[in-house]
């Protein structure tokens, strides 16, 4: 300890304290944009992160091929029959869409449309903390990614919202993270609520649909989409399915537990919605 005082150890502690305050202030001021130092460190480490993610994905792929071949073959057969069913549904849907379009023309209604401008990105890192659920993506401000952009899978399921952006990387706060707050709607009953992350549910990989209207008759398996309320996020993005409906401890409001459609641990590629236009 004598060495500590002789070698100006206190000075080191003061420097640490000042750095802590500086980082705290900068990250508070910068909001969704990464501070210059964080940006630098993450930009420089980006190739390493990408390399490790690619290598790990390859190893996992090889492992699955060798040790889970039968399981994958079974899944392939299930998916093939599912594709057949969906193709039939698409054919029926196309007919219905044509009819719908004709009727809209007849009644001179504005047709509904949904245009999403997306950019693909690789998932290069997953949550490093047990206290939050985040993903790191390979795209950042250099690719026009902004804080608040929604992130979806190739099937349109909501992954989360971009929370911090650096030059060639961004951090996504996933749908199950505790800071999630998005308008949600149950497609079967049109019951609207607020999708919120919950600490206990986050560790089970689920989230809440809060503030359900009185008398909303939800059942397990009901599909939950984003409602688009507030125009911050696009409407109609698939969030998940209702697992159960509960009353909160105060007995005042009911909430539904929602199981997300996306398997966060298995994500490799996602799409960042950079712009959207939805006419309902």
């Amino acid at each position: 300890m004598k060495d500590f005082f002789r070698q100006n150890g206190i000075l080191l502690l003061v420097i640490a304290l000042l750095l802590s305050i500086l980082i705290g202030i900068i990250s508070y001021v910068m909001g969704g944009t990464a501070d210059p130092l964080t940006n630098l460190v993450n930009t420089v480490s980006s190739p390493v992160r990408g390399g490790i993610a690619a290598a790990a994905d390859w190893v996992e792929g090889a492992y699955n091929y060798v040790f889970r071949y039968n399981e994958l073959e079974e899944e392939l057969n299930t998916l093939r029959s599912r594709v057949g069913e969906l193709e039939e549904q698409v054919r029926q849907g196309e007919e219905a869409s044509r009819e719908n379009e004709q009727l809209r023309d007849l009644l001179e209604f504005q047709s509904r449309r949904r245009e999403l401008t997306t950019a693909p990105a690789k998932v290069t890192a997953r949550s490093t903390s047990n206290w939050e659920s985040t993903l790191t993506l390979s795209k950042g401000s250099a690719h026009d990614v902004q804080a608040g952009d929604c992130v979806i899978t190739q099937t349109g399921a909501l992954v989360g919202v971009v929370s911090e952006v650096g030059l060639n990387w961004s951090t996504v706060s996933t749908v199950i993270n505790t800071d999630t707050e998005i308008g949600g709607i149950v497609t079967r009953t049109y019951s609207a609520g607020v999708l919120e992350g919950d600490f206990a549910l986050m560790n089970e990989g689920k989230l809440k649909l809060n503030y359900l209207p009185e008398g909303a008759q939800l059942v397990s398996g009901d599909e939950v989409l984003t409602s688009g309320r507030g125009d911050m996020f696009p409407s109609g993005l698939l969030v998940g399915r209702v697992e159960g409906v509960f009353t909160d401890p105060s007995g005042q409001t009911r909430y539904a537990v929602v199981e997300p459609s996306v398997t966060l641990d298995e994500l490799i590629e996602v799409f960042v919605i950079q712009d959207f236009e939805i006419v309902e």
Binding site: S20, I23, R49, S129, W131, S163, E164, D198, D265
Partner: protein, 170 residues
């Protein structure tokens, strides 16, 4: 020790920190054990503080804290000071009360991990994130699973210490 020796010594410790950081940030989060990811960076700070003493422990803690804040998402700055202070305390405790050995490192690691866990639980309670038992359900497994990695991190930094640690390069 000359300035060159010092630079060589701390560069070697820095190189030792590299695999710990890569495993902590990019590899282990992909394979959580029962949903729990360990924290290796506080273990690195503990190992070096125990081996090198209070002054070096403070400096290395500061560096580890800076890495943690800058390379991981959601940093708010507090870890830089926390790990620098923890490095000083662990260095001093290992010099005067414990021994500069693995058991000493294990106790220091348990201390710093426990304190981090307590701070996170306290923060969770403060912002009303969840009831205490739910916060503890995350904090306790995280503490235990992280502590289980202490031998590996200790062996790595002990090997570095045996080559360049203390005044060996003098």
């Amino acid at each position: 020790m000359t300035r060159r020796d010092l630079i060589q010594k701390w560069l070697t410790y820095g190189l030792g920190l590299l695999p710990v950081w890569l495993a902590d940030a990019y590899i282990l989060p992909r394979y959580p054990l029962w949903g729990v990811t360990p924290m290796l960076l506080p273990l690195a700070a503990a190992a070096v503080a125990v081996l090198e003493g209070a002054y070096a422990g403070t400096g290395f803690g500061l560096a580890v804290g800076l890495l943690w804040e800058l390379a991981y998402p959601g940093g708010f700055g507090g870890l830089v000071f926390f790990l620098a202070l923890a490095g000083m305390v662990m260095g001093a405790v290992s010099q005067y009360a414990l021994s500069q050995s693995f058991p000493g490192c294990l106790i220091c690691a348990a201390g710093v991990l426990g304190l981090l866990g307590l701070l996170r639980v306290a923060r969770g309670l403060l912002i009303n994130a969840a009831p205490l038992h739910q916060l503890l359900q995350v904090a306790v497994p995280e503490f235990l699973w992280s502590l289980a990695w202490t031998p590996l991190v200790w062996l790595l930094f002990r090997a570095i210490y045996n080559r360049v640690g203390g005044t060996r390069l003098a």
